[in-house]
Structure formats: structure tokens, C-alpha cells
């Protein structure tokens, strides 16, 4: 098959690190080319080189036989390269269709009718049901990503880059994405798929390349991929990813157990023992929230949560999960219904009252509302305790005590920061999450809500976050974990509830058949 694009000896250096080291790869028409590798292996740099965001120090990109440099994102688009980044980069104040029309020429009039035709075409192709006139700000991250994919496809891209597109999608969404990728592949588009999950690599990939420390460590070409058994493929990939000897790979993987567990979707924690003869810690009775523009409110949600239990909440993004989390945390008022904590009515009262009683909330918007980027890590660790002893006496700050406390938490939670005084905004995503987990899953926590606790983290930090959930449950904390990653919920939950249209469509025990029942509920089939 013809080569749509190729990289030839691409090298990109940053101060102190070689992100890409003489990388040469070929991308064929009608093929899904999977790129695997640990965080820091160079995948993201490779994406930004093809997207025109970074220029390589050496080497060329060859498109349609011509060696060239991709000078800018605009140039990249003109060359027929569409890119879907990990984080949506859309204009939140505009509507879906306006976002899609943004790339047009400055002088031409905005052709709304034509844009709508293209929108419907792509919506059919992708199987999405977005309202073209919905403002972006009201869409969930998952829905925003759908818009992002549409935008990448808007100009008939010949090469489509997908940087971890599944991390925000439901299983149904992943399946849809797979169908879409096959459609595009059959039309002769070359696809590059970056993922952390081997299952997806096998399911969608025609060819696999593994990056390690900026170099192409090796790969499996289409013929070999078809010929190989799954265990053989996995052994090969693990050997390439972690640079292990062949014999070592399948068994110990030399200290990479955590990454391997996620890679293989292996279950590490058994569910904690939940004693349901005791009264539940949290009881939510027919709780509703007030509708806000372009947000799904809660409609009479009822459930109970026991000590040491992990209740997973699955569902397509934007079905009321955020309202559920904010309502329990006290950040959003309850409109009808009641909340009880340990038998005490807590329906009234905001965040301080709830927090005083042991309710904790790890938000998914870590930088937007979870932390104050401009303030030091130490301050962020006590952000929800401002004014309270032992760090404040009669309103006067005891900075020495706060900093000592921060150093203990930094040490205990392995938060990688130059110091306790470093602004939280300078930390990596994984470390920001460690700050939030340290702040929320403290000794006094009784009920903790975690909204997408692993979203956007690399394998290592995903593992760490899930581990913290396990330890908290073992300590007796009742946990509500909201996630769109069903594999993850299956791994850690005792029961899984499904949100659909602001209602709790149902709660199923996490046993062998759980995944099918959850999927059914997610489509709304079980909801009344």
C-alpha cells in the first residue's frame, strides 16, 4: 500500500533531554498504525512535529514523496493531516458548529449551510448526536472530544493522528470510535493511534510501533500481527517497551508491575469487604439539583453507600455525574430530596459543614477549581482548611506549621515538587493529582467522591491513584468513584451505578456479568 507520510531521521532535543532520537517511521494509506510507549517515550513530541507545533532539529517529514518541514499547524492541515489532541483545544464561548467553521479563510463568508451539511455527514460517520448550536462550554469533555475529532476530519484529512482518544470515552464510545476508524481506514486514510491499552492496540491496530526513550524500539508489522498469538504479541511489546530481555518479560517485567497491570487490564485489588449489616454511611434520597444552562441536573437520585465500599459511577459524560459529585460535596444545592451522613441529615449546609463531617471531593477539574496554580503547594494542601486550627489561631496563619505539614504530605505521597513553596501550577498533572488525593483522602475522611481520578494521567500515576482508592477503602472510607473508563471501574468497584439523563439508571454488583449490564444501562435501555 502507498505511503501517505513518513518520518526520516527526526531528532528533537529539549534542554537536558532528547525527546526524539533519529526516529524513522512510515504511515501507510488504509492502515491504523498504533504507537505504544511509556510516558516520556516521545509520542507526544512526535504528534506535535506532525501537527506542525514543533519543528525537528534534524530530519524531514516526507508527505506524498516530497521531503518537507511542517512549518505551522496551518501548514500541517493544508498537507492533509488532522490531529486530535489529548486535551480539547476548542473555543468554549462558541457553539459546536462555530468551532468547526473556525479554520476557514479570513475573507470568505461563513457558509453555515455548507458547514451544517458537512457536520451531518461527519455526525453520521461518527455516530454522534451533538447539537450543532450547543455552546461548547456546556459540553462534557467527552463530547468536546467528539467535536475535536470532527474538526480534525473537517477537511478530508489523509492522515489522522489520534493522541489517546479513548481515555475519555465509554466502552460504547470506544466501540464507536473503532467503527469510525475502520470506516476511515477503508476509505484509504492513514491513521495514527496513540494508546496506553494493549487491548485497543490489538483490536484497532494493523501495525504496531513501540517508542522507547525517544527511539523506535521496534514494532510488529501487519503480517506478523495477524500471524501472532496474543501472548506472543504482548511478550514482544513488553520487551520493546521496557527494554527487557525476552525471558524476563512475561513474568516480572523488572519493576514495571504497575504499568503492566494497566497495559493488560489486569485486576490487582479484590474488592474490600463491605459489611452491609451496618447502617450505610451515606444515604441519598430522591435528591435533585436545579437545571443549569446546558448541564444535566440530577433527577431523584437515591442510593446508599457503606463504609469500605467503592461504588463506581459509570455513564457517558454529561449525564449528571458532575452535579452528583458537587451536590454531595456541598458545592451545589440540593433541590428536593435529602442527604444523610451517619444518620444525621446534611441536606442543608455547604462545603465547610460537609467537610467538617468527613465528606471529601477530588474534582476532575484539577487546575480549574481543585488547585490555585499561582499559590504554593503547601497552601493548596490546606486550601479547604483555611482559618481552622491547627494552622490558624484566631485567624492568624502559622506558616511554619503549614509548611511542616506540607513537607510531611509531600514525602508521604511522593509528590514530586522542588519544594513546598513551588506554585502548584508548575507541577505535572500526576503530581497535582497527588496533591488533591493527599488533601482529600486524609485521616478524617469518611465519604470521598472522586471524579475521574485517573483521567489524563500516565500509567504510573493512574496506578498510584487507584492504589490510593484501594487503601482508603481498606481504612473504612466510603468511596464514590465517577469514571468513564469502565475497565477501571470493573477493577476497583464493589458495585457500579450508571448515570443516564440525570438519573441513576441502576446499580449492579460487580461480578462476572457486570460489564454487559452496565453497558445496557449506559444506553438508557434499563432506565425508565
Amino acid at each position: 500500500m502507498s505511503i501517505v507520510a513518513a518520518l526520516s531521521g527526526i531528532t528533537k532535543r529539549y534542554p537536558g533531554v532528547v525527546a526524539l532520537d533519529a526516529v524513522s517511521l512510515e504511515f501507510h494509506a488504509g492502515e491504523v498504525h498504533v504507537l505504544l510507549g511509556e510516558n516520556g517515550a516521545g509520542k507526544s513530541t512526535l504528534v506535535s512535529v506532525l501537527a506542525g507545533m514543533q519543528q525537528p532539529d534534524e530530519g524531514t517529514v516526507i508527505i506524498g514523496g516530497n521531503p518537507l518541514r511542517i512549518a505551522s499547524p496551518r501548514h500541517s492541515i493544508q498537507l492533509g493531516i488532522g490531529t486530535v489532541f489529548q486535551r480539547p483545544s476548542l473555543v468554549l464561548s462558541l457553539t459546536v458548529i462555530e468551532n468547526l467553521m473556525l479554520g476557514g479563510s479570513w475573507l470568505r463568508r461563513l457558509a453555515r449551510a455548507a458547514a451544517l451539511r458537512r457536520f451531518r455527514e461527519l455526525a453520521t460517520l461518527l455516530g454522534t448526536h451533538l447539537d450543532p448550536d450547543a455552546p461548547l462550554a456546556g459540553l462534557s469533555l467527552g463530547e468536546q472530544q467528539q467535536v475535536e475529532i470532527m474538526r480534525a476530519l473537517w477537511r478530508d484529512a489523509k492522515l489522522l493522528l489520534l493522541d489517546e482518544p479513548t481515555s475519555m470515552l465509554t466502552p460504547q464510545g470506544v466501540a464507536d470510535l473503532g467503527r469510525m476508524m475502520r470506516n476511515l481506514r477503508d476509505r484509504g486514510v492513514a491513521l495514527i493511534l496513540i494508546t496506553h491499552k494493549l487491548g485497543e492496540a490489538y483490536e484497532f491496530g494493523d501495525r504496531i510501533s513501540v517508542l522507547r526513550l525517544g527511539k523506535v524500539a521496534g514494532g510488529i508489522d501487519p503480517e506478523a500481527l495477524v500471524a501472532m498469538e496474543e501472548s506472543g504479541r504482548t511478550a514482544t511489546i513488553i520487551r520493546l517497551m521496557f527494554g527487557l530481555e525476552a525471558g524476563e518479560a512475561a513474568t516480572t517485567a523488572g519493576g514495571h508491575a504497575a504499568e503492566l497491570a494497566i497495559l493488560l487490564g489486569r485486576k490487582i485489588h479484590g474488592p474490600a469487604v463491605v459489611d452491609r449489616s451496618q447502617p450505610p454511611v451515606l444515604r441519598v434520597r430522591e435528591a435533585s439539583t436545579r437545571a443549569e444552562f446546558a448541564e444535566t441536573p440530577l433527577r431523584k437520585v437515591s442510593f446508599e453507600l457503606w463504609s469500605s465500599e467503592v461504588l463506581g459511577i459509570a455513564g457517558v459524560d454529561g449525564n449528571g455525574q458532575k452535579h452528583l459529585a458537587e451536590m454531595i460535596a456541598g458545592q451545589r444545592a440540593v433541590h428536593g430530596g435529602a442527604l444523610e451522613l451517619g444518620g444525621i441529615d446534611i441536606t442543608q449546609g455547604g462545603v465547610p459543614e460537609r467537610r467538617g463531617r468527613g465528606v471529601r471531593y477530588v474534582t476532575d477539574d484539577r487546575l480549574g477549581e481543585g488547585t490555585v496554580g499561582a499559590l504554593p503547594v503547601a497552601t493548596n494542601l490546606v486550601l479547604k482548611e483555611v482559618g481552622a486550627p491547627p494552622w490558624w489561631h484566631h485567624g492568624i496563619t502559622d506558616w511554619a506549621a503549614i509548611h511542616a505539614h506540607a513537607r510531611v504530605l509531600i514525602e508521604r505521597n511522593d509528590i514530586r515538587t522542588p519544594s513546598a513553596l513551588t506554585p502548584a501550577g508548575k507541577l505535572s498533572g500526576g503530581n497535582v493529582q497527588k496533591v488533591l488525593l493527599a488533601r482529600e483522602l486524609d485521616a478524617e475522611a469518611r465519604v470521598a467522591i472522586l471524579n475521574k481520578p485517573t483521567h489524563g494521567l500516565d500509567l504510573h500515576n493512574q496506578r498510584l491513584a487507584l492504589d490510593r482508592i484501594g487503601t482508603a477503602a481498606a481504612r473504612g472510607v466510603a468511596l464514590l468513584v465517577i469514571s468513564t473508563d469502565l475497565d477501571e471501574l470493573i477493577e476497583i468497584s464493589d458495585r457500579i451505578g450508571v448515570m443516564f439523563g440525570g438519573r441513576l439508571a441502576g446499580i449492579v454488583d460487580n461480578d462476572a456479568g457486570a460489564i454487559d449490564r452496565v453497558r445496557r444501562l449506559m444506553t438508557g435501555a434499563g432506565a425508565t
Binding site: P15, G16, V351, P352, T371, T379, L383, V386, I396, T397
Partner: protein, 341 residues
């Protein structure tokens, strides 16, 4: 090498004075002569130095008020209205009280009245901001226009001293004004202003209330998430800011003028804004910049008569300083980024 500490301010100051000097050269004036005259007049001569320090009092109080607001993410640009109404209120109250109650009580009551008037004038923008999220830049500026006009109306129609030909309020006798410090012409309002600006700095950096305000200023969503009473904090920051600016108005009247004439508007509120930015909202640093600016003002006014350089040249220097501080900061950041630290 990156610029540290005092050098970070010193280099831009030198650059600003150099470019300012070049502008003077182009205008056909002698820059060395101008600068040395300004410095001699405002700092080296005892009388000039006293004038400079006296001029600092209202600037510092306004700076304290702006620091509270800006650190809380509230752009209170209505300083002029708050200042002037407070000045008029204390100017009207002082002569009326002075016969009945002791001087000390009169002065304290007048300063409280000034603060209160400033505060009241900020309430509408505060409530609009906290309740409905209406941009306070617009509302405070509008209230400022209303405030300055209203102050004039009051002087001309209500509070006018019938014994004068020019419309102005009744005057407070020199002996009844704020006490002077140690036999100088500097009034005790300077002390109050220093206390206020240091107090505000300590409040912002060492108290729970100050930290809540800082969180509100840096990330409003985080303040909501952490359960702070965002509406109350917003109104509190507004009130404190406007009260301090009102106090500045009262202190200026009670310490220096003794009365307010119609159409008097020193427009200090907006003049202090760049100083507060130069100091990066730091209470200690703002003292230094205020001294610098105050000296330029005092020297510049005199130089306008003596050397023939317009008084507004002082503002050119402040603008240049702001420009160079920003530039040095930007270059420094770029260099640190390139060094990978």
C-alpha cells in the same frame, strides 16, 4: 545569570531615567539639570522632603486600598469618586463638630465618616459583582464619574461656605487639623498611612481572611470549590478597599487642606494604579515606589516653573518605568526558560 532583588528594580529605573533624559534632550532641555533639580527640590532640601513625605500619605492609603482589591481579583477603579466624596464628607463634618466635641474626637469621627462614605459608594458595584457577576471595572468607573460630580454638586449647593466668593466648604482651622509630627510640617496622617499599608500587607499574607481573598483573586472557581463564602468575601474586599481610599480623602482634607473647593479633584485614584502594579501588589515595595513618585511630583511641579519642563513629564517617567520593569521581567523569564530552570 538572572536579575535578582534590588537589581530588578534598579536597572529599569536607570533605563527609564535614561530614556526620559533622551526625551528631554530632544525637547531641548538639559536632562542632568532637570533630574538634579527635581532631586534637590524634593529630597535634599528639608522643606521639599517634608512636602514629599506629606504627599505620600494619601497615595499610601489609596495604595493599601488598591492592594486589597487587586489581590482579591477585584478591579476597583472607582478610587477618585470614593476619595472625593469622603473628602467632602469629612470637610463638611469637621467644622460642624469642632466647636462641640474635642479635637481628637472630631478628627477620628471625620476619618470614620470618610471611610464610611467611601465604603457606601462601593456597595453598588460590590453587590452587582458578587450577585450578578457584573464587571466591576465598568461599574466602579461609572460610580466614580457620578461621585466626583455629586461631590461638586454638594459643595456648590449644600455645603457652600457663604463667607467665601469661590464655592468651597467651610474651612477647618490650621490648629484643628491632624497633628504635625515632631515640629515638622508632616501631619500624622503619614503615620496612619504607613500603618495601613503595612497592616494590609500583613493581613493579606498572614491571616486566614487574607488568604481567602488571595484564593478568590487567583482562582474564583477554587474558592467556590473550597467552600468559601465568595459573595461575602467579594463585598468585604470591596468595602475594605473603598474604606481605605475614603480614609485617604479624609486624611488629605484633615491634614493638608482643611476644606474642599469646588472642582478640586487631584485624581490620585488612577495615579496610584501603576504604582501598585510596579510593586506587584506588595505592601512594602509600594512604600518605595510611592516615595519615588511623590518626590517626582513635588520636584516636577516646581521644575515646571523653574526649568520649564511640563509637570506631566513625571507621568512620562512613570510610564517608562512601568514599561521597562515589564520588559526586564519578560526578558528575564525568557532567559530562565531557555536555561531550562
Amino acid at each position: 545569570m538572572s536579575l535578582r532583588g534590588p537589581l530588578r528594580v534598579f536597572v529599569p529605573v536607570v533605563l527609564a531615567l535614561t530614556v526620559g533624559g533622551l526625551i528631554l534632550l530632544v525637547l531641548g532641555k538639559d536632562p542632568i539639570g532637570y533630574y538634579s533639580y527635581v532631586m534637590e527640590r524634593s529630597l535634599l532640601r528639608w522643606g521639599g522632603a517634608q512636602e514629599t513625605l506629606t504627599r505620600m500619605a494619601p497615595l499610601l492609603l489609596i495604595a493599601a486600598g488598591l492592594i486589597v482589591a487587586f489581590r482579591s481579583g477585584i478591579w476597583n477603579l472607582g478610587g477618585d469618586g470614593q476619595f472625593l466624596l469622603a473628602a467632602v464628607a469629612s470637610a463638611a463634618l469637621a467644622p460642624a463638630l469642632i466647636g462641640g466635641v474635642p479635637r481628637g474626637v472630631t478628627l477620628v469621627l471625620c476619618m470614620l465618616a470618610g471611610s464610611l462614605v467611601g465604603l457606601v459608594w462601593s456597595l453598588l458595584p460590590a453587590v452587582l459583582k458578587s450577585r450578578y457577576g457584573i464587571n466591576e471595572i465598568i461599574t466602579t468607573l461609572m460610580m466614580s464619574f457620578l461621585g466626583t460630580s455629586f461631590a461638586n454638586v454638594l459643595i456648590k449647593l449644600v455645603l457652600r461656605d457663604p463667607g467665601t466668593t469661590v464655592p468651597q466648604t467651610r474651612s477647618l482651622a490650621v490648629d484643628d487639623r491632624l497633628p504635625r509630627l515632631f515640629g515638622t510640617t508632616i501631619h500624622s496622617g503619614l503615620l496612619l498611612a504607613m500603618l495601613a499599608v503595612v497592616g494590609v500587607h500583613l493581613m493579606m499574607t498572614r491571616t486566614a481572611f487574607g488568604l481567602r481573598l488571595q484564593v478568590l483573586g487567583a482562582n474564583r472557581a477554587a474558592a467556590v470549590h473550597a467552600g468559601y463564602r465568595v459573595e461575602r468575601l467579594t463585598i468585604a474586599a470591596f468595602a475594605l478597599s473603598a474604606a481605605l481610599i475614603g480614609l485617604a480623602g479624609a486624611v488629605e482634607v484633615l491634614g493638608v487642606w482643611g476644606s474642599v473647593r469646588a472642582d478640586w479633584n487631584p485624581a490620585l485614584g488612577l495615579l496610584v494604579v501603576p504604582l501598585v502594579f510596579l510593586a506587584r501588589f506588595n505592601g512594602y515595595a509600594v512604600i518605595g515606589f510611592t516615595l519615588f513618585f511623590s518626590a517626582l511630583m513635588v520636584g516636577g511641579e516646581s521644575a515646571a516653573r523653574r526649568v520649564g519642563v511640563p509637570q506631566h513629564f513625571v507621568l512620562v517617567l512613570v510610564a517608562l518605568l512601568l514599561l521597562f520593569l515589564g520588559l526586564v521581567e519578560y526578558l528575564d523569564q525568557g532567559r530562565r526558560k531557555a536555561a531550562g530552570t
